[in-house]
Every structure is written in C-alpha cells, then in structure tokens.
C-alpha cells in the first residue's frame, strides 16, 4: 500500500523505505522553533542533560522567536527574553528575532509610553507561527518541531509540523532528532469554493464541530482536493493552525504552485538558501477516514464558549450580546485577516470596545501602506474605533501577565478571531469567549451581538 504525505515525510526523515501508522521512528528535524515562554525551560533541560558547554545540533536549525510576553512590565517575563538573548549569543544562532535591535543590548518595555506605539527594535518580528512563514523557515517536505501547540500551522506548507513540550524540545536541541509515532491520517477532500463572506476560519470551526475537539487526537489531518485552489497560503495557515483544536498531531496540506511560489518568495526575500522536496500522497495511501467537504455549503460559523468544538452558525446567534471584540493572534491576526475585517467594517463604527493586534511587524507595516478609499486600512480601523497596537505579538490571545494589551480582566463576553475559548483562556476565569472569523468578528463589533457578516456586505 502507498503512503500518505505525513507517512512519506516521516519515512524519508528516518531513512526508511516505508512506515505505517503505529511505527515509532527516530526522525531528523529540520527546524526547531522556540519562544520566550518555553525557551528558557527548554534551554535549562538541554544544559542539565547535555552539560553546561553543550551546543545545539545546528546553529541555523534552532529558530528563536520571542512573541508571547513581551510588552509587559512583568519582571520574570522580561528575564525570560533576556535568557533567550544570552543563549542566542552563546550558541551563535543565525535566527533570533530579538525584541530590540539585535545588537545584544537589553530591551525593556516602557510602561509610560503606553501599549499602542511601537516599542520594539529592528530585529523584532512578532508571532512565531506567522514569522516562521514570513521569514522562509516553513518548507515542503521538512519536519518542524516547536515548543508551541500551534506549530501545526506550518503544515499549510506541506511539511510535518507539530508542537512538543520542553523536554522533547531539549532532546531535539541537543541531537537534531525526535522520537515520533507515525499517526493515522484523516483525509479532508475539499471541493468547490468558499462563498463570499465565508473564510477559512469558518471551515475549520465547521470541521472541529463535525468531528469533535478531540476528534483527530493522535491523528494527522490532511487537506487536499480542487477546493485548495480558492485558499491562499494565509487561509491554509488558519486551517492548519487549528488542527490541534481537533486534537490533531499535525495538519498538512497538499503542495501546489501557490505553496511553492510563497515559499520561494519568502526564502529569497530573507536570504534563506535551502533545497526542499515536494512530496505527495500516493493514490493508494491508506486513510483512517475520508471526509468530502463542499466548500460552497460552509456558512459563517462560531465556536461558542467554552470550547472550540461548541459549534453554531453566526446567523443563529443574534441573541448573544457581546461586550468586546478582538482581532489578532497566529490564527486571526494575519494581513488577510485584517483586510477582511476592514472590508466588512466598511465605513461603519465598532459599537463595542474592539482591540486589534497584528500578528507581525510586517502586518503592521502593510496595513499602514495598503490604501482603503481615501485613507489606509490602518487609519480606517482606528477611525472605526478599533484600538490598534503597533506592538505585534500574542497579546491577549492567551491572557498573559495582567498588564497585557487587550487582556480580558473582567467577567465579560468577547468575540475573537483567536483559537481557544476554554475558561480563563483570555484572562478572567469567568469571561466568555466566542471564536469566529475576522469577518464575523467585524460584523459583531458593529452590531453589538454575534452577527452574520453576509448581512454587512
């Protein structure tokens, strides 16, 4: 029998002709990504296990991206970024997207200057999963391991990408290898095209609602079919990103011209020179289950508090009032997310408190450059009442220190473009978080209750 894309990558990277689900392999890792929340602990374990003078297995294999708790006065969070900086210097890491200017100088958040104006230096980049793609670190056929569950985002590029804890990451850091059990694969065959007003976020919320938010546990989620042609790379990233919200080990997309154009461009722009292999699933590959999804049938979808599988349709939730709207994160803070949000807003105002946190510095720049009517997207959003920060990062998606921008510090109801809505996720344990697409969040921000964006087109 043939192999799925996931099986092929794991076979190749463990130098085997063939693997089957259930096999355990010791695979070569191409890139290990870590950030400020899990990096210091990972480094601690690496030193404990391999010795104080241990070196990472490849100085251009470890990519360090501070992004979680950056724009905060919290002393331990600041210290953690400092420890990443020391490690990057000690190990001579090629890819460290420091918050400051990358010259080794310490950097501190200036509380008095406020959260809105840019405080970072020229080497800072933003949210790790989006930065990995922007900077040319996501490539077909490779294995990417990250100390963050949303590392699966990179599966959009036809690679095996999954999140691990500090101990596994420390093992990778020292050896360049990881023990993996080959997962079974669920196939999602996409046909047709998403209707106007419907986004990739709606599709993945639909799928999670369908299979349950542990419905893909221990399994790979593979996306293929003619429907891919209507999905940009950013939209594919949104889908792969939330694979873990169905419990998936990894999510992976078939590679097409759109993938290669994106990857080649980002590698060229950022001076990354790596050859990658485009692999594809065999026609006789074995799948645990095949789902056929007609994209034309997908409607604006929400995941209501308290979990990403609690699915409903936006048009059926008009009686759910909201106190706050939030657009940001690796899931919903990319350039296309903000553009869709702005287009749904049109010339209308947000009627509830609305926060906007671009995922990356690059997104901030492009929003300020992109014209909209006789202004820019950035200025239109600000004029509409959206409280926009230039300080790109994870911000309130996962709560964070209490002074985090946009953090839900009270018992309120928030609709958000982010990825999780478990109790306490965005801060307060009794707040209610509903997940939706950027368009649905924009429509809801206008209406003051959950709203269907097709009514605002």
């Amino acid at each position: 029998m043939g192999m799925t894309l996931t099986e092929k990558i794991l076979a190749r990277k463990s130098r085997k002709k063939c693997v089957i689900p259930g096999d355990t392999v010791l695979a070569d890792v191409d890139v290990l990504m870590t950030h400020d929340v899990c990096g210091p602990g990972t480094i601690g374990i690496m030193k404990k296990e391999f010795g104080d003078d241990a070196r990472v297995w490849r100085s251009d294999g470890v990519v360090v991206i501070p992004d979680h708790y950056i724009f905060t006065a919290d002393a331990k969070s600041n210290r953690n970024v400092d420890s990443l900086r020391s490690f990057a210097r000690e190990q001579d890491l090629r890819y460290f997207y420091d918050v400051g200017n990358g010259n080794g100088d310490q950097w501190r958040y200036n509380t008095a200057a406020g959260p809105l104006k840019a405080q970072f230096g020229c080497s800072y980049a933003g949210v790790c999963h989006v930065v990995l793609a922007e900077k040319g670190h996501t490539r077909p056929g490779e294995i990417l391991i990250g100390t963050d569950s949303h590392t699966c985002t990179a599966g959009a590029f036809g690679q095996f990408a999954t999140g691990v804890g500090n101990t596994d990451a420390a093992f990778v850091m020292g050896t360049g290898k990881i023990l993996l059990r080959v997962p079974r694969t669920l196939l999602f065959h996409l046909e047709g095209a998403l209707p106007p007003g419907v986004m990739a976020k709606d599709l993945i919320l639909h799928i999670i609602g369908e299979i349950g938010f542990d419905g893909a546990t221990y399994q790979a989620m593979e996306f293929c079919g003619p429907g891919l042609s209507c999905l940009s790379m950013e939209e594919r990233m949104t889908i792969a990103n939330m694979g873990v919200e169905a419990g998936g080990k990894n999510a992976i997309f078939a590679v097409d011209d759109v993938t290669c154009e994106y990857v080649d461009r980002q590698m060229r722009e950022h001076g990354v020179d790596v050859n990658y292999d485009v692999l594809e699933s065999d026609s006789d590959a074995g799948y645990a289950h095949k789902f056929h999804i007609s994209l034309d049938t997908i409607e604006p979808t929400v995941a209501l508090h308290p979990n990403p599988g609690n699915r409903s349709l936006a048009r059926e939730c008009g009686d759910i009032a909201i106190d706050r709207a939030y657009i940001g994160s690796c899931t919903g803070g990319k350039l296309e997310d903000f553009l869709a949000f702005a287009h749904t807003l049109g010339d209308r105002q947000a009627s509830v408190e609305t926060f906007g946190v671009p995922a990356t510095v690059d997104v901030v720049r492009k929003l300020k450059e992109t014209p909209l009517g006789n202004t820019t997207v950035w200025d239109r959003l600000c004029d509409a009442g959206v409280i926009m920060t230039e300080n790109a990062g994870c911000a309130a998606c996962l709560g964070g220190p209490t002074d985090t921008f946009g953090r839900v510090n009270r018992e309120l109801t928030c609709i958000s473009t982010t990825n999780r809505n478990f109790p306490g996720r965005m801060g307060h344990a009794d707040a209610r978080i509903h997940l939706a697409s950027p368009r649905t969040v924009a429509a809801s921000a206008i209406a003051g209750h959950i709203a269907d964006p097709r009514d605002y087109m």
């Binding site: 602990g41 542990d214 221990y218 419990g247 964070g400 999780r420 478990f422 109790p423 306490g424």
Partner: protein, 191 residues
C-alpha cells in the same frame, strides 16, 4: 515499575485544558529553576472554575496538594503544549493521573518528563469516585482499588511508551538505549 500509590483522589470531569491546569499568567515561571518549580505547584489546577470545583486541588497559601492521584474524564490536558502543566501537577505532589483519555501533547509531556504517571482507566472512573476518596493505585498490575472496598478497576496498558515511563522519562530512556551519551547523540545507532 512496581509502584503502589496510596492516597486521596481529586476528581475532575471532561476536557480539562492546560489553561485550567496552569493558567497562562503563570507561564513566566521557568520549571528548571527550583524556586519557580515549587511555585508552579502552588498554582496547579487553579484555573478550574470555583463554582464547579469549590474544593481546590491546592489550598490558597499552600504549595502542596493533599491529593496524590487525579481522576479525570476524557481529553484531559487538551490545549497548549506547555510542559508547565504536568510539571505543576507533579510539583504539587500528584503522582499519577487516571483519565478516560488524554490530549496528545499533554500525554507526551507526562511521558517525556516523568512528572506524573499518565494512566487510562478501562472505564470512565470520574463518575465512580469523589474528591477525597482514598484509593490504592498499583501501576505494575494496572489496577485501581478503593481502600475499604473490594471493587477493583482495571487500567489500560501503556503500550509503546511503557519503556519510557519505566525509565522515568525521555532522557533516561535515551541513555538506557544508547541513543545519547552524556554530551551527544550516537548518530550511527539505530533506535
């Protein structure tokens, strides 16, 4: 793995995610720093809503839990990959979890760290026990028994990861199998 764990259980239901096990505001604590490891323990399971779980896993002002075993429903540990989660449970004094099922990364982190035994019951045990019940958990024979009762509940075998759990975690296992020496991996050895 001849361990027998005797003590009180703390019972939780389905879908306890990592934000409830260790809320994100505590993730600035680094588990490899001894004092911060202790502090992580004091916050274990503090994200559980008070309304549903009035009896807390760790009492305020305490570092240690009086419960040594957590009995959970399905999909325990869903959400983020933060290793702080199993570490916090272990730091508070928990020795084992007996769940109906686990989210993948949390399970993997339990195995890799050796912080707590991640066992699965053959049955859904969170409906059979109440917080404070005293039980005896026999890891080797795969059996959970309420003290003072004849009823025994079988556990599922750990399968492929048994050896890593028996070794006490990933690095001990890797050393015992010759995958790593003190400094570097032995690249030419097969797994």
């Amino acid at each position: 793995m001849s361990e027998i764990i005797l003590g009180k259980v703390y019972v939780v239901k389905d879908d306890i995610d990592t934000d409830q096990i260790i809320p994100a505001e505590h993730l600035s604590l680094v588990p490899t720093i001894a004092s911060e490891y202790r502090e992580l323990g004091s916050h274990a399971l503090c994200g559980l809503p008070v309304s549903e779980y009035p009896q807390r896993f760790v009492e305020a002002t305490q570092h240690d839990s009086e419960y040594v075993i957590i009995i959970a429903g399905r999909n325990f540990g869903c959400g983020s990959s933060r290793e702080h989660a199993p570490i916090a449970l272990g730091a508070a004094g928990a020795r084992a979890i007996v769940a109906e099922s686990y989210a993948r990364i949390f399970f993997r982190n339990c195995v890799a760290t050796g912080a707590v035994y991640p066992m699965e019951g053959e049955y859904r045990l969170c409906d059979h026990f109440e917080t404070g019940d005293v039980v005896q958990l026999n890891i080797a024979s795969g059996e959970l028994r309420a003290v003072g009762s004849s009823a025994a509940y079988p556990l599922r075998p750990l399968g492929d990861v048994q050896e890593i759990v028996d070794s006490g975690g990933l690095f001990n296992y890797a050393r015992s199998r010759g995958l790593i020496s003190k400094e570097r991996l032995c690249h030419d050895r097969a797994i």
